[in-house]
Amino acid sequence: MNRSSGGSGGGNGNNSGSKSPSPGSMEISQEDTWSLFLPTNSSEIDEISKLIEEKLLKKLNKQVNPSKKFNLSDVSPFLSDGVEVLVDDEFTKCFTSPEIGAWNWNIYLYPAWLLGAFIRYGILFPLRLTCLIFGCLAFAVAFTMSSTLVKNEAKKKTYQRKCISFLCIVFIMSWSGVIKYHGVRPRRKKNQIFVANHTTVMDFVVLQSQFNHASVGQKHKGIIGFIQDKILNCVGCLWFDRAESKDRLLVAQQISKHIADESKDPLLIFPEGVCVNNQYCVMFKKGAFELPNAIIYPVAIKYNTLFVDAFWNSKKQSFIRHMFNLMTSWALVCDVWYLEPTTIREGETPTQFANRVKAMIARKAGIINVPWDGYLKYFRPSSRFSEHKQKIFASRFKRKIEESNSVHDDLSLSHSNSIDDISQETENDKNSVNTTPIDTNNIKQRKSTTATD
């Protein structure tokens, strides 16, 4: 109760607090161009605490302590838990590229691999690069012509969009993209928002080539900023600054306005907010899901890792390097599923709605659904999570103390053999432990049944 009421305020405080260290915020501005940042709030935090609770309770239950007293080994779940994640944790796994074992060290395979590598780097890459450069040049010419020469606004827009679609096809061709689209591409409707899982900036290209859509993302400076301003604005993309919380509110309003206007291109949002390695699906920011009347069109994108890993690990790879990887592989194979549109159900909170859509996408794409917030990449989890852990652990003792009290109350007259030590402190306990009577009653009942057994 306390948590939820004080939640929003505390959440904001946490956000601004954790953002203040400059290295973290510096990093952000350069990452993940197309992602949407909306505040992490208390309900999202609850999601993580729930996970922790489940995990911990499972462990605690597994290690039921037969004696009712505190036992020095009671802390071991925390230890094994902590050390386990040292070696392997799910969160980091979401953002690491899978390791590729060497398969080519074999007298038969090695020459074949060498030949393949020669073809890929020596023939395919130059060809693709030339195509890409010419494609870009053609695009630049066509785009500038259509934006300067065509006077009719509506016509200009159509030409510009055609140019963008053309550019996307050029890009997909440059990595020999084999993209299979499943399901029917939905037609433009009011309040429509496309929501997809996020692996690489190229997600945008992959979907854009099918139909024009606008996106929401981080405002950038430099060359990406130029592209954002001059080129992508014609499909009505909304840019904002992740660090500005005021901006976010504005964006929510703009999004609402945008989707309500049917003449505009549909909106595509990557609610994960960060690029994930396409094996996991991290928490969906609920921003897109709390807009009134929004109809969510989930899109699941799954890249085949057979030839190349499409995950853009922006911490390790520059964008150019990422492009180079894609362009020197045999092909980029990818599946795109358009799922059934869905709206928020009655009685469903935006967070639940977001989770439901996420589960749909994860199931379709065959990726693992984890509740971590992708922004933990940049921000440390708030101390409230560990407080939650402490609470679970403490609740166990609380019960023990209560139990020993009630045992004492019940049985002190009949036999005081096993509870010698407890009886000494019960006097103090009574003052200090102010528990709700209901709780104590429950335990008493449970106690008495076990006693009769």
Binding site: I48, V85, L86
Partner: protein, 180 residues
């Protein structure tokens, strides 16, 4: 990045293999993990780097665990320290080592005894503000009285073994299961 500083040589690998129960493949895997955690490439892990794993940052006993990892007490954890402690908690670690590890969690000042104050501190980390100090002190006192056979007011390692050494499944509890 940190290769110049922290590249694992053959001798080092051999040494670690002899010193711990890990196979070469396991060591290599751990080393990759170590390098990944070592964000600044310094060849050592610091508390800050540990905190970058959300799951770990949430662990109330993290501070204690790091201190035990850090056997030479320089506030940084080298790969050899990393491996040694992990070996203790792996399935191949002996029961003795595991219990020793657990004992060290409580024995903050490393004097070979768990004092009343130390137990209180550790328990405080575990429960935070959810129990008041009086309640906590009761638990502590009770535990110490129960285990303290020679009545010196603190628990020695032998007394500690006596208390929980024969507990069923204690070895399991202190083993970490990590799959490939």
């Amino acid at each position: 990045m940190g290769n110049t500083h922290s590249g694992m040589t053959k001798e080092q690998l051999e040494q670690l293999k002899d010193g711990s129960s890990f196979s070469e493949a396991e060591l290599r895997r751990l080393y990759r993990r170590f390098q990944m955690l070592d964000k600044d490439g310094s060849g050592t892990l610091t508390t800050d780097e540990f905190l970058s794993i959300p799951d770990l940052a949430l662990n109330p006993l993290l501070e204690r665990v790091i201190q035990i990892f850090d056997t030479n007490k320089d506030n940084e954890i080298e790969f050899s320290e990393f491996v040694t402690t992990l070996a203790t908690l792996s399935h191949k670690g002996t029961k003795e080592d595991k219990l020793k590890f657990l004992f060290e969690i409580y024995d903050i000042d490393c004097d070979g005894f768990i004092s009343n104050g130390e137990l209180f501190q550790v328990l405080k980390m575990m429960v935070g503000n959810n129990l008041n100090d009086v309640q906590l002190q009761q638990i502590v006192d009770k535990t110490i009285i129960e285990g303290d056979l020679d009545k010196d007011g603190k628990i020695s390692y032998d007394e500690f073994l006596n208390m929980i050494g024969n507990q069923e499944g204690i070895e399991e509890k202190l083993s970490v299961n990590w799959s490939e």
